[in-house]
């Protein structure tokens, strides 16, 4: 086979890897911000399911994928408020509340989703070639021949990185996750900041789910996220709580999957169970390595991650 033939395959595979990675990118960015203000939300999988479910229903009813996407995003956000209320206002245990949210999302969508199974969407997101940019060799066809939601995720990742590191909002929200008492002394409303960014985390999980059912599948079935919410949580650490590194992580994960499928399609003798394990194993090793490096560099998880805050106590 010619070299150009290989290049075409790689371009197509990576371009798909970006789409698959986008499903992970949204929730990863969302969870980064929730954790940055000190709220660990293990309910990502549940919120994604809820976003996926409502995104699908609204698209189906309105034939408008954009309305559907917005509905999915909002549904994810609303689901996150349960977790916010329990862990911020009631100061409940975040791990258990998050797990409950995941069970809730699965139970809710299975219970109410019965009549929506096995239906199709007539409208989805179409690819949009960006002028000029898409003409860049290789990279252009991988990154700039995508649908509008993917472009939205590029902008979002950059904007959120900017907010986190370059604005007052970012300084304040990081302060809340590092030392809530000190933040309060600085005049920041800790409760409000935590609510806002936990809600943002939910919106983003909803976005990932909605993109899955509207843009990727496109149909609804029980448990359609198949564990992607958990991967997003793992990617947060891989990304060291940085939205731009989340982009790398999400696409890398998508690419590893594409790579192992490509290996299979060309007849490798490596057992497929091992290949299927690869993304998890690589993430595991990457997390361990980053954590070791992180420690050396004095970057670490937000100090008060998972710790409830109460204004009344000293």
């Amino acid at each position: 086979m010619s070299a150009s033939h290989h290049t075409t395959i790689i371009i197509l595979l990576l371009s798909n890897a970006i789409k698959a990675g986008t499903i992970l990118l949204f929730p990863t960015i969302g969870e980064i911000f929730a954790e940055r203000v000190g709220i660990l939300n293990l309910g990502v999988e549940g919120m994604m399911l809820i976003g996926a479910f409502f995104g699908f229903i609204v698209t189906r009813l309105t034939n408008n994928p954009y309305l559907g996407f917005i509905a999915g995003v909002l549904a994810g956000g609303i689901a996150s408020l349960i977790h916010a209320f329990i862990s911020i206002t009631l100061r409940g245990n975040q791990i258990v509340s998050g797990l409950a949210l995941t069970i809730f999302g699965a139970g809710f969508t299975t219970f109410y989703g019965q009549r929506w199974i096995n239906m199709n969407l007539s409208a989805s997101f179409e690819n949009l070639k960006l002028p000029v940019l898409s003409n860049i060799p290789v990279v252009g066809s991988i990154l700039f021949n995508q649908d509008i939601i993917v472009y939205f995720s590029y902008i979002l990742a950059f904007v959120m990185w900017f907010i986190l590191y370059k604005t007052m909002i970012g300084i304040n929200l990081r302060a809340v996750g590092e030392n809530a008492k000190a933040a309060n002394a600085m005049g920041i409303n800790v409760y409000r900041v935590r609510y806002i960014w936990t809600f943002f985390g939910g919106l983003m999980a909803g976005a990932g789910g909605a993109y899955l059912t509207i843009g990727y599948a496109p149909f609804w079935l029980d448990g359609i996220t198949a564990g992607r919410g958990w991967i997003a949580i793992a990617l947060v650490i891989f990304a060291m709580w940085d939205p731009l590194k989340a982009v790398v992580g999400a696409y890398l994960f998508g690419s590893i999957n594409a790579l192992q499928f490509q290996l299979q399609a060309t007849g490798t003798t490596i057992p497929s169970a091992i290949l299927n394990m690869l993304p998890y194993l690589v993430t595991f090793i990457a997390i361990v390595l980053t954590s070791i490096i992180v420690k050396a560099k004095h970057i670490r998880p937000p100090k008060e991650l998972g710790i409830p805050y109460s204004r009344e106590e000293k």
Binding site: L42, G92, I95, L99, A100, G107, A234, A273, I292
Partner: protein
Amino acid sequence: MIYFEKRENISAKLKIVIPIVSLLIGILFGALAIVVVGINPYAVYKSLFVNAFGSWYAFSETLVAATPLMLITAGLILVFKMGIWNIGAYGQYIMGAILSSYFAIFMPPEISKPLMLILMFAGGAIGGAIWAVIPAIFKVFWEVNEVITTLLLNYIALYVLKFLMYGPWKNPKSFGFPLSKPFPSSAQLPVLFEHTRINLGLAFALISIIAVWFIIKKTNFGYEVRVIGNNPTTAKYAGISVGKNIIIAMAISGALAGIAGMVQVSGIIHFLQVKINANYGYTSIIVAWISYLNPALCLLSSVLFGGLESGGYSIQISMRVSYGIVGLIESIALFSIVGAQIFLNYKLRWKK
């Protein structure tokens, strides 16, 4: 404005009332969710109860489901008390099942039953412990967040199991299906009550609960665990080796999850396959929390959740409702229990 005020002391009455009230709230919201789709919630709950506790057979099946929950929860209580969040019981359970099955599959079946079962028991404990100690070491030496590593190790364990079942451990006589050789009778845990599936595993579970209670209350290690849980920094200043204790506690927790996996394959399934109900690992996290990390209460909540798991599937039969309802009820009850915990320590106050 409404705010919370810390209680001076926690009354025993509240300790009983709050969980019950929050459970009732959960049941009530669950009922609302069911009403929406036009099904009678009373009938659903009744059917759930009957299918979980309504007869000796139903109750025996509830105990069968409760056994792994008790084993895993007992271990989780120990690590949760230290503030270590092992959510890898799923993977530890699988690794325990794999290592104990190794003996059942590859040892000559003639060896005596006690020896075989001891080997399998040890295999289960060691398999689970190794899978828990790995993240513990990373946690202690490099501060790698254990929530994430234990979670990922769950997936890796699952694929190790799949690899073995579709590859080297597949029974050549199973027409290529992913099952191991059936365990010889020497590798099967004895049944305790005739005509049920309750086996010696239940005894393991009860003993482990007592052992964990004893460790926490009566040993120096248990004391240190509690101190670390209250405040790791204080513990360090008090000269407690936090790292060593974390690794030991994780090893115990993983070992118990591994034993649960061994009990499942040796006592219930009698061969190794991909579907060995490792989800007990996740349910146990909930059970541990609902028990307020109290070993005695863990017994009760394991039975309750065992009933929910085992009765839940059966309500489909009588009520024709989707299994999703069980998750719905379970999660709502959980939300209200976690949320209500604050009222143990705080009073609700109103200030203008």
